[in-house]
């Protein structure tokens, strides 16, 4: 079947029930999306499907034909994603970095849904786990991005 990832259409051979994560990492060699828990609880494998944050480890590719998949490899082609990555660098968010491609995905999806999220909205949307505990830095970066929009910079 055909999958459109970061604007490029790939022909993939995997069975329809294969998780998107395995296709990304094993078949297409796009290893920026990480395997964490495998049961949709940690968020390390987050990607966007039609701009909605999605856990690649529990998404069978069957449902993804004609959908728009965005991974960390293509995030900077997206204007919001580009700003998120810049804020992540500015705030030096990552420590070990393993969860961060997922965190960037969650933040980008949040800002696409609502450009000026309040504290509650940030708390509601940013549920990815980080074992290094970079939550404060993530929060600071997103508040910065939300403020960015507000001041039109």
């Amino acid at each position: 079947m055909k999958l459109t990832i970061n604007g490029i259409t790939h022909q993939v051979e995997a069975e329809p029930d294969t998780p998107l994560l395995w296709v990304l990492r094993d078949e297409l060699g796009m290893t920026g999306t990480k395997y964490g828990c495998g049961i949709a609880q940690c968020g390390a494998c987050s990607v966007m499907v039609d701009d909605i944050v999605t856990r690649a480890c529990v998404t069978p590719i069957e449902s993804l034909e004609n959908r728009r998949i965005t991974t960390i490899e293509g995030i900077e082609n997206d204007p919001v994603g580009k700003r998120v990555v810049a804020a992540w660098v500015k705030h030096q968010v990552p420590q070990c970095g393993y969860c961060q491609s997922g965190q960037v995905m969650a933040a980008t999806a949040l800002l696409k849904e609502t450009p000026h999220p309040g504290d509650d909205e940030i708390a509601a949307a940013m549920v990815n786990l980080c074992r290094c505990g970079t939550y404060n830095a993530i929060s600071a970066a997103i508040h910065d991005l939300a403020g960015d929009e507000r001041t039109g910079q």
Partner: protein
């Protein structure tokens, strides 16, 4: 007084003699006197293996670390535990000395070779309906297709005098329909085959039919509307298999039922709880013809609108409570989004046949909420279809979510997308958390099924 005694005494003696005769008699078998010495044909053994799959013998008479059919599975009764027995043809510890008639008496008449009555943990009220041909094939398989394995039976821990077996003769007399399955001439062959499989070897009612005070199934066939109308057993609620649109199979087509029993999943549900074992060990091995017969038969059982209420329809309104700025205000909504929605869909509709929908799920609308609590606490077991473990399974949330959080998220799911289940109380979660905790000494042990 003396006169009274002289009248009463013979009556008492006669009654006692009658009771003793009834409780200790060896029921007759159509195979009495049939010699079983000649080796059966490979076809008969193969046929018997298939019957053993239909009847899911290994589900109870097998345990993971032992050779097949050596028993050992612990099952609870109100007065103590009993253990499934060795049914390999080992002469000392198994059934190697059983004649065909002995075997028939154990399977269809609840009496073992030494004359003791079996506990109805063995679903003989259902197996009583097996045909003579199927019993003969099953015997051929167990004698010649199963390897004898030495494995001593474990004695029950039921204390004397409760451990006396002869009163079970009266249980059987009261709660069993004796005699093989009878065809309904008004129905077609497919329906009749389905009825035979469901009521007989498949023993679906052992879990799905409500039980009475004596732990008897309250109906053994479709003449009673309680048959397969849903029952609570071992901390799981086995839903109605009748035409109820909410808590039963009313919205399933025959093809979808067939797919569920063959592959363990369809767009309505994925097997979980005790049904995972029934699927892994039994239903997936049934022929397409038999599965279609089961589906056809089950779809002929009417639902009960008084029990089930108005039919479920998807209601998208509840998705408003999941909006980014609203979900922290509704108890359970944020937990649903963070823990459940990535698999079951933010709209509750699931992902095709791979992840079951929560919208319209029978277990979320059933009055008995045990299944939804249990699967949230403990997750689902691996579904192994055609030798391949599935890619997705429900994780346990026992360590992640509190009683309150589980109660809230289930109450949310039970009242969203048109679901009309009652709220879940934290105490109910607490109770099942304790009774299903493997570290607890009074953990739920399998009941009769």
């Amino acid at each position: 007084m003396r006169k009274l005694l002289s009248v009463l005494l013979p009556v008492i003696v006669l009654a006692a003699a009658g009771v003793t005769w009834f409780a200790t008699r060896v029921p007759s078998s159509p195979f009495d006197g049939v010699a079983g010495s000649q080796a059966p044909s490979p076809e008969l053994i193969q046929r018997g293996e298939y019957i053993a799959r239909l009847a899911d013998c290994v589900g109870c008479h097998g345990s993971p670390d032992q050779p097949p059919f050596t028993g050992g599975l612990e099952m609870a009764t109100p007065v103590g535990s009993i253990f499934a027995t060795n049914i390999t043809p080992d002469k000392e510890t198994g059934i190697g000395n059983y004649s065909l008639a002995d075997f028939d008496r154990a399977v269809r008449h609840d009496v073992a070779r030494d004359g003791h009555h079996l506990y109805p943990a063995m679903p003989y009220p259902s197996y009583a309906k097996l045909s003579d041909d199927d019993v003969r094939a099953l015997y051929a398989y167990f004698m010649h297709g199963v390897k004898p394995a030495r494995h001593a039976n474990k004695a029950s821990d039921i204390p004397w005098p409760l451990s006396i077996r002869w009163p079970l003769a009266f249980w059987s007399a009261l709660f069993m329909d004796h005699g093989s399955h009878h065809e309904q001439p008004s129905e077609n062959a497919v329906w009749n085959r389905g009825a035979y499989l469901v009521q007989g070897p498949g023993h679906c009612g052992a879990c799905h039919t409500p039980r009475g005070l004596a732990f008897n199934e309250r109906a053994l066939d479709d003449s009673n509307p309680l048959f397969l109308s849903g029952a609570l057993l071992d901390g799981w609620y086995a839903p109605s298999l009748r035409g109820d649109p909410n808590r039963g199979l009313g919205r399933w087509s025959e093809d979808e039922l067939h797919q569920f029993l063959k592959t363990g999943r369809n767009r309505h549900a994925v097997v979980f709880g005790s049904m995972t074992d029934a699927f892994n060990n039994s239903t997936q091995f049934m022929t397409d013809e038999d599965l279609r017969a089961i589906a056809h038969y089950l779809k002929s059982l009417p639902g009960d609108p008084r029990r089930d209420g108005p039919a479920w329809h998807y209601d998208p309104k509840s998705n408003d409570t999941l909006a980014l700025n609203a979900r922290l205000k509704t108890p359970g909504a944020q937990t649903f989004l963070a823990k459940c929605s990535f698999c079951h869909g933010a709209d509750g509709r699931g992902q095709g046949q791979w992840f079951p929908p929560l919208a319209g799920a029978a277990s979320l609308m059933a009055r008995e909420n045990a299944s939804s609590i249990n699967v949230t606490l403990n997750g689902s077991k691996r579904v192994v279809a055609d030798g391949i473990p599935d890619a997705y399974r429900m994780p346990p949330f026992r360590e992640q979510l509190s009683d309150r959080q589980i109660a809230d998220v289930l109450s949310f799911a039970r009242s969203s997308w048109g679901n009309n289940g009652e709220p879940v109380k934290p105490e109910e979660v607490k109770h099942l958390r304790e009774s299903t905790d493997p570290a607890n000494s009074s953990v739920i042990i399998l009941h009769m099924r």
